[in-house]
């Protein structure tokens, strides 16, 4: 054949995704360039079906080398032809880049997206020209039909399919062979084959891919099915929204006729078979087989009760076999290669492959075909490339709008019919939507419910009315108007719908809601009880994403707006309504707000923390004196601990007229702000200004007054006349690693080390080799402090990978710039030495299963121990609360050492409240501030005779108008924060960050999109 003379074949994807991203003009350009260069006799351009990697479209492969190019546009063609087709060189610019390493991956076979895939059903998609039957035949097409007709009896075919174990790919997973047998045995002269190509799930397009990319595979499967059950006619019910699929099917049917593979007396046997196409009008319910059949018959597409099953009475009352596109498309290969070949793929009870349309918050969106039994995590993280923008994985929704979601704990789940069903998700038609932390599961499930109720045919009451009632409830919850009883009602309706609906649409409509409720109940509760959408997605509950993300709920857009006008005092006032520590947080806050900033979806988030710092610094000269807001109440409150939680509650209570005394165990006030955060991040002078603000509100801070040593709760309440006590005692004891050698000299706890440095008791680090164990902020603080104390080398040892570190990315980067050496996938097994530390024995780790944080769990590799020679080991793997200080005072602690509190932060002892790290475990300043606010309200309520005090006025948000023209800032990039050079700062204790200049700060403010005003325009 002439084709074999071509020197190169360029396969351009003509699938829907690539067509949308411009594969047609690309193909035209390629063809004309090839003609222009006189290569038409040597190079052939082939338009293929979908290759699945839609995120990277348009994609092409150049054979024989197998060079994979992605996101190729028409203007790239001249270079591509010149370099690759003429000179045989790879154009690196157009190759796929590994997202983490940005390494170019030039060859198709090496691309991780395809690495774990196994293309059985999609084997021809993207490889052959779907409009040419010869190419299908060249790939072994229609061999199976020939084999079936020449060598097999109809019963033999059915037996082969039964033995293969193929289960229906439409979603329910019924055994295909068994279904065929029913239809074969059903009485009747006329029987029908029906193919469900009414792929209605939003986001699912695997059937389309086969219809468009390999239509003959479907036809061949249907003809074989017709032979097996004794049917002479088949119908493909294809949605009208797939015009290309319909066009290619028509062409394929025509070609099959020409070749004697369809029509009368196929391949000169007595068997005749015709296939017709019926276009569906886009009703989701017509995917249900009885509704589909009704639709083919020209009736309203609605399901009817079964029995009778279509195998007995289907299309026009005749025995009918209905399967999904993928089920039929698998048949030719099962017949050609044998049942054993097929059943060896995948899982014993779910043999073969599964095709998923991978979409959502995942790097590599597209169509993937994997062997059954692969884990969800492998699909999301290995094939899918993980979650973009370093966001936290939240859940995967499978099975489309009637499916369900699984959370991180489901990442180890084997993907097959039965495991998914057990987990409350379903295989369905193969939609797989990945969502991250920014997705609200209540709203997410509401989205699917909205779809399913809109697609309810309305025939049966449970689906028609039940779905609607549930949607109303869910809507109410997303608006903050739900009640806890609503959750029971949802479950009740779901049960009723599952029991009483006619078809799967009604029975499964509650699926997404139920699974969201099962795995993310706390999000529903947050909407109902706290009127808060944790993900920041539900409009009615979210002022703006940044305000929502801030634990203290600081009105970010308002103060940013005021800063842009130079109204710093007003801006600070807005800030202090919810967070009095602007100076400190301007320096150390992890800025949850910035992670959610909508501007970040465009380019980079607003530099909110830096703006905050600039704003707060404007007041250094003339510090704030908090005003008393309510008259003196004549009641006394003792706060134990002067960290951010303690000081915030003390300040609030003092402003509301209470006499507040803060007891601090250490000789300095500020808690972890003072002794946990190093000087180079938060200078003590700055912190003290902020602590003095609290003092000026009338709060007395008693230093060196330790609970359990100098004071007791009994004493405070019974003898000293305090009316309430706030326990804000923090969590500053470093957890031990529990390896041998921890008692050696040179083994330090991270927090203790940092505290000693602050209190002037820094150990001698000069010239020492230091290993810090842990991946959090304390570990980084300890490492950078050790460097500044003169350590000769500092190593950070972490058992996971860098992307799994909980420490702030910026901190890690700065530490590395300063010379920190990072060791990943290693874990200490013992500390070696003789009286003194001499080395740290480490075991290399490999990543195993996923844990509940969606990170792979490190597992030691046996025999991989090696020793890192060091003189000091700093343990920074976690912190706990000093529970001993509260012994015998009637306050209970949880197993993880946090204080046991109720919703109002009241401990197990009346009159004693708790807040901050002691409640949360080690957290951030802003989270402690939020707790301080909350506990202050609780104490106030308690002291007003238990009446809940309405602080609505205090909590209300004002409205600051937009004062600049946003258009002018559409292109503006984020202002860079000036910092000390690494080699300089490594050797001093001065602040690393130097702060914004005034003009830069004002300009940065104006990048804000003012999402808080979104609904007001």
């Amino acid at each position: 054949m002439a084709d074999s003379l071509y020197r190169a074949n360029v396969l351009v994807c003509g699938g829907t995704g690539c067509t949308a991203s411009g594969s047609q003009p690309l193909m035209e350009a390629l063809k004309s360039e090839i003609v222009r260069r006189g290569l038409e006799g040597e190079v052939r351009v082939v338009e293929t079906g979908c290759r699945g990697f839609c995120a990277m479209g348009p994609v092409m492969i150049v054979y024989p080398e197998g060079i994979f190019y992605c996101q190729v546009q028409a203007e790239d063609v001249p270079e591509l032809v010149e370099e690759t087709l003429v000179k045989g060189r790879v154009v690196e610019r157009l190759t796929y880049k590994e997202p983490l390493t940005h390494q170019a991956v030039p060859f198709y076979k090496d691309i991780p997206f395809y690495g774990k895939q196994l293309r059985v059903c999609l084997r021809n998609c993207g490889l052959i020209n779907p409009e040419n039957i010869d190419e299908y035949i060249a790939q072994g097409g229609y061999e199976a039909l020939g084999k079936a007709l020449a060598e097999m009896t109809p019963d033999g075919v059915i037996d082969e399919v039964k033995r293969s174990g193929l289960r229906g790919r439409g979603g329910a997973g019924f055994l295909v062979g068994l279904k065929w047998e029913f239809a074969r045995k059903a009485r009747g002269d006329v029987k029908y084959i029906v193919c469900n190509a009414d792929e209605g799930d939003p986001g699912a397009f695997m059937d389309r891919s086969i219809l468009e990319g390999d239509p003959h595979a479907l036809l061949e499967g249907m003809i074989i099915a017709g032979y097996a059950i004794g049917a002479k006619e088949g119908y493909i019910y294809c949605r009208a929204e797939y015009p290309l699929a319909i066009e290619r099917l028509k062409l394929a049917i025509e070609q099959a006729h020409e070749y004697g593979l369809m029509g009368e007396r196929i391949l000169d046997t007595d068997f005749s078979f015709e296939i017709y196409i019926k276009e569906g009008a886009g009703a989701f319910v017509c995917g249900e087989e009885t509704a589909l059949i009704a639709s083919i018959e020209g009736k309203r597409g609605e399901p009817r009760p079964r029995p009778p099953f279509p195998a007995v009475s289907g299309l026009w009352g005749k025995p009918t076999n209905n399967n999904n596109v993928k089920s039929y498309a698998n048949i030719p290969q099962i017949i050609a290669n044998g049942a054993e070949w097929f059943s060896a793929i995948g899982e014993p009870r779910s043999p073969g492959t599964a095709i998923f349309a991978l979409t959502g918050k995942v790097e590599n969106t597209g169509l993937v075909e994997v062997p059954m039994g692969i884990t969800m995590g492998e699909i999301v993280f290995d094939i899918g490339g993980g979650i973009p923008k370093n966001k936290q994985f939240k859940a995967v929704q499978t099975g489309g709008p009637l499916g369900g979601c699984v959370p991180a704990s489901g990442l180890n789940l084997k993907v097959d019919f039965d495991s998914l069903r057990e987990a409350g998700a379903v295989m369905g038609s193969g939609g797989m939507i990945v969502v991250d932390e920014d997705t609200c599961m209540v709203e997410f499930s509401k989205y699917f419910l909205t779809f399913a109720t809109a697609e309810s045919c309305g025939k049966c009451v449970p689906c028609r009315v039940g779905g609607r009632r549930m949607l109303e409830i869910l809507t109410r919850i997303t608006e903050g108007k739900g009640t806890m009883e609503d959750l029971d009602t949802i479950e009740e309706i779901a049960k009723g719908m599952a029991n009483a609906s006619i078809c799967a649409l009604g029975q499964l409509t509650p699926g997404p809601v139920l699974s969201a409720l099962r795995y993310f109940r706390e999000e529903f509760v947050a909407h109902i009880v706290e009127k808060r959408c944790p993900a920041g997605a539900c409009k009615s509950l979210v002022r703006s994403p940044c305000v929502n993300a801030c634990p203290a709920g600081v009105d970010v857009p308002s103060y940013i707006s005021l800063v842009s006008e130079g109204k710093y005092a007003e801006a600070l006032e807005v800030h202090r309504e919810r967070n009095p520590f602007a100076l400190s947080c301007g320096r150390v806050c992890p800025a949850f707000c910035e992670q959610r900033c909508r501007r970040g979806e465009l380019d980079q988030p607003i530099a909110i923390r830096q703006i905050k710092r600039f704003m707060a610094d404007q007041e250094l000269e003339n510090p704030w004196t908090p005003a008393r807001k309510e008259p003196k109440k004549g009641k006394k409150v003792a706060v134990i601990g002067s960290g951010p939680a303690g000081l915030t509650s003390a300040l609030r209570l003092a402003q509301w007229g209470y006499d507040v005394t803060v007891h601090e165990a250490l000789p300095v006030a500020g808690g972890m702000m003072a002794v946990g955060i190093p000087e180079y991040r938060l200078p003590k002078d700055i912190l003290n200004i902020e602590i003095d603000n609290v003092r000026r509100a009338g709060v007395e801070i008693v230093l060196n007054s330790r609970l359990g040593r100098d004071i007791t709760i009994d004493q405070l309440l019974d003898s000293d006349g305090y009316d309430a006590v706030v326990l804000a005692i923090g969590a500053q004891i470093s957890r031990a690693m529990r390896v041998s050698g921890e008692d050696l000299e040179g083994v330090l706890g991270g927090t203790e080390f940092l505290q000693d440095v602050t209190l002037g008791k820094a150990p001698d680090m000069a010239g020492k080799r230091v290993a810090v164990v842990g991946g959090g902020n304390t570990a980084i603080d300890a490492a950078r402090t050790a460097m500044r104390l003169g350590a000769s080398e500092v190593h950070l040892v972490y058992r996971r990978t860098r992307d799994a570190m909980p420490a702030q990315e910026l901190e890690v980067e700065e530490a590395v710039e300063e010379g920190l050496k990072l060791h990943f996938l290693v874990n200490p097994s013992r500390i070696m030495g003789n009286g003194k530390v001499e080395g740290l024995e480490l075991v290399s780790q490999e990543l195993g299963d996923f844990d509940n944080s969606a990170r792979r769990r490190p597992q030691p590799i046996e025999g991989s121990e090696f020793v890192l020679p060091v003189d000091v080991v700093i343990e920074a793997i976690g912190q706990s609360t000093d529970v001993g200080c509260a012994d015998g005072c009637g306050v209970s602690f949880n197993r993880n050492t946090t204080v046991e509190v109720n919703k109002e932060l009241c401990t197990t002892r009346e009159g004693v409240f708790a807040a901050g790290d002691a409640v949360l475990g080690p957290a951030t300043v802003v989270e402690a501030v939020a707790q301080g606010n909350q506990v202050a309200v609780a104490v106030d309520s308690y002291l007003q005779d238990g009446e809940p005090v309405s602080k609505e006025e205090w909590l209300a948000y004002g409205s600051v108008p937009l004062t600049w023209n946003m258009e002018g800032y559409a292109e503006a990039g984020r202002e860079e924060m000036p910092v000390q050079a690494p080699e300089v700062r490594r050797n001093n204790w001065k602040e690393v960050e130097l702060g914004f200049a005034r003009e830069a700060c004002h300009e940065e403010c104006k990048r804000c999109l003012r999402c808080d005003l979104e609904d007001k325009f």
Partner: protein
């Protein structure tokens, strides 16, 4: 297999194979509630009220569609079943406006009955109260979508029973709404106003205008009677309150109509605006004067006794057999039938539901004998029966016909009819002659024929089978009953006669031809037997009592004085 053994709620019994669980339960005396199901129409399993638990089956199954199997064990009152039913009821009550106290159907509402049965004493779910339209564009009844539970009985009855297919659904899911044609006002639709939808509606959605708020179920009486509007002789029920017929319903148990009525049968007499003749009237120089029965009958006797054989009694086909008999036995002179020729009684109307070819001759079944027309329509639309029309006028069934021609083309029918298994020729007096020719050509054809009036066969059964022809009589007693103006021949004779007595229900202008007008009861007021087109003797029963003398009494009293 002759029968299938099945156990329902512990009761074991045998039922015919192919039965549904619902049918089986009913035959075993087990009650299963239903809403969308109706015995006259095909089950669709939509409402889910009849859900039951079948052992070895996953989930719950609708009893109305689930077929019985040998040895099947069914539970109809298990907690799971009861929960599901209550759930469905709660949803239905939350869907639209089901405030019973403001609904006409309260007391005769199947939804309400179920709510009581299942102890619904509160609304479990928020009520949506969508503002749905009320379609009041039809003359006799309204459609209030706010009360509709979308059981689709109306749609299915219109389609399956009436063969009209006017009703359908628009939108889907919670937006679903019953519509007429392509969503036109019901009054502008292809609706034939037979009122079957009204009769099958289980709630207060399709509402009869005349009887609305006139009486709840336990305040009314029901009298089984017959329609006398035409010779089909449909069974009906008169719904009566305070000696007033407030509504007419089809009798589901009656042949040949099996519950159906046409516009005329259901609403004709109810909406008849003609003035009644309530008292005897005598013509004086100053016009018509009301008088007593004694006076009127006295005058009549006096005049007629002199007439002797010159008296001609003309009886309407709307009169009862008993009245005709009295005429034959008691009155002298000649006797004739007022209206209509009388094709010989032939096959039962029931064959219409078995025929595969209809040959309709010179009659429009969408206007006359409508209930028989419904059988033709549903057979053509659902059973694939063919229809041929021989008519030189326009015919309402034309659109359904495979062929239409004039009577001259009768020969063409043969070509099509040859391969028919069961051809039926349908005709009345107008087509009798052509039909005879067809019958000769198609010996295997069945015949469904309709005599004029409603009781022509009854009249004939007592020997009164002569159509009126002028015979030189000069005194006439016309028992017109509810009939309108007679044909020209009779009018002409009456005008020429010396003395004319007419007994009539309605005061019509033509009655001026008479010297005395005697009141006649209507079909709702009289008792008697009729013989229908298919030759069945049926009873017409008075729904209300009347102060008027009955037809027979009048005849007897006249005769007594002659």
């Amino acid at each position: 297999m002759a029968s299938v053994q099945i156990t329902i709620d512990g009761i074991t019994g045998s039922v015919p194979p192919g039965s549904t669980v619902l049918e089986a339960a009913r035959s075993l005396g087990v009650d299963i509630p239903t809403l969308c199901d109706h015995p006259a129409i095909q089950p669709i399993g939509a409402c889910r009220i009849c859900l039951i638990e079948v052992e070895k089956q996953r989930g719950l199954q609708p009893a109305c569609t689930f077929p019985v199997n040998e040895g099947m064990v069914v539970h109809t009152k298990s907690p799971k079943v009861v929960d599901a039913r209550r759930f469905v009821l709660q949803l239905l009550f939350s869907e639209r406006n089901h405030f019973c106290m403001f609904c006409q159907a309260s007391g005769s509402c199947e939804l309400q009955d179920l709510a009581y049965e299942y102890g619904l004493d509160h609304w479990e779910y928020d009520r949506a109260f969508p503002q749905m339209p009320v379609d009041a564009s039809r003359k006799y009844f309204t459609m209030d979508h706010n009360r509709c539970i979308l059981c689709r009985r109306c749609i299915r009855a219109c389609d399956e029973l009436v063969g009209n297919g006017t009703l359908g659904l628009k939108y889907r899911g919670a937006e679903t709404r019953v519509i007429a044609d392509m969503d036109v006002p019901f009054g502008d639709s292809t609706c034939v106003a037979c009122g079957t939808c009204l009769q099958v509606c289980p709630v207060g959605a399709v509402l009869d205008r005349m009887s609305a708020y006139m009486g709840a179920t336990d305040e009314v009486d029901r009298v089984k009677s017959r329609c006398t509007a035409c010779s089909v002789g449909c069974g009906l029920e008169l719904v009566v309150r305070d000696n007033r017929v407030i509504r007419v319903e089809g009798d589901w148990d009656a042949e040949p109509n099996k519950g159906l009525l046409c516009e005329l049968g259901r609403f004709g007499l109810m909406y008849d605006k003609r003035k009644r003749v309530n008292k005897p009237l005598v013509k004086t120089e100053s016009g018509w004067v009301e008088t007593t029965w004694e006076d009127a009958l006295g005058q009549v006797q006096q005049k007629l006794s002199g007439a002797g054989d010159a008296l001609c009694t003309v009886v309407s086909g709307l009169a009862s057999t008993e009245a005709a008999q009295a005429v034959m036995e008691k009155l002298p002179g000649t006797k004739a039938v007022m209206d209509g020729g009388m094709p010989a009684a032939a096959d039962g109307i029931g064959v219409l539901d078995e025929a595969d070819l209809f040959i309709v001759v010179q009659t429009d079944l969408t206007k006359d004998y409508q209930v028989a027309g419904f059988a033709v329509k549903r057979s053509v639309r659902h059973r694939g029966a063919r229809l041929m029309i021989l008519d030189d006028a326009q015919n309402g069934l034309e659109q359904l016909a495979v062929w239409k021609g004039t009577p001259e083309d009768a020969a063409h029918v043969l070509a099509v009819a040859q391969d028919a298994q069961m051809p039926v020729i349908i005709y009345d007096a107008a087509g009798a002659e052509i039909a005879k020719k067809l019958v000769d050509l198609l010996p295997n054809a069945k015949q469904v024929t309709f005599p004029g009036g409603s009781n022509a066969h009854g009249l004939a059964s007592v020997g009164l089978d002569t159509s009126f022809t002028a015979n030189g009589a000069n005194a006439y007693y016309v028992l017109a009953a509810e009939a309108g103006q007679p044909d020209e021949k009779l009018m002409d004779a009456l005008q020429k006669a010396d003395y004319v007595v007419v007994q009539s229900s309605f005061r019509e202008p033509w009655l001026d031809v008479a010297q005395v007008i005697l009141p006649s009861p209507t079909a709702y007021e009289k008792n008697g037997t009729f013989i229908t087109a298919e030759g069945c003797k049926v009873e017409v029963a008075a729904g209300v009592s009347s102060k008027l003398l009955s037809e027979v009494e009048v005849i007897e009293r006249i005769a007594a004085g002659l």
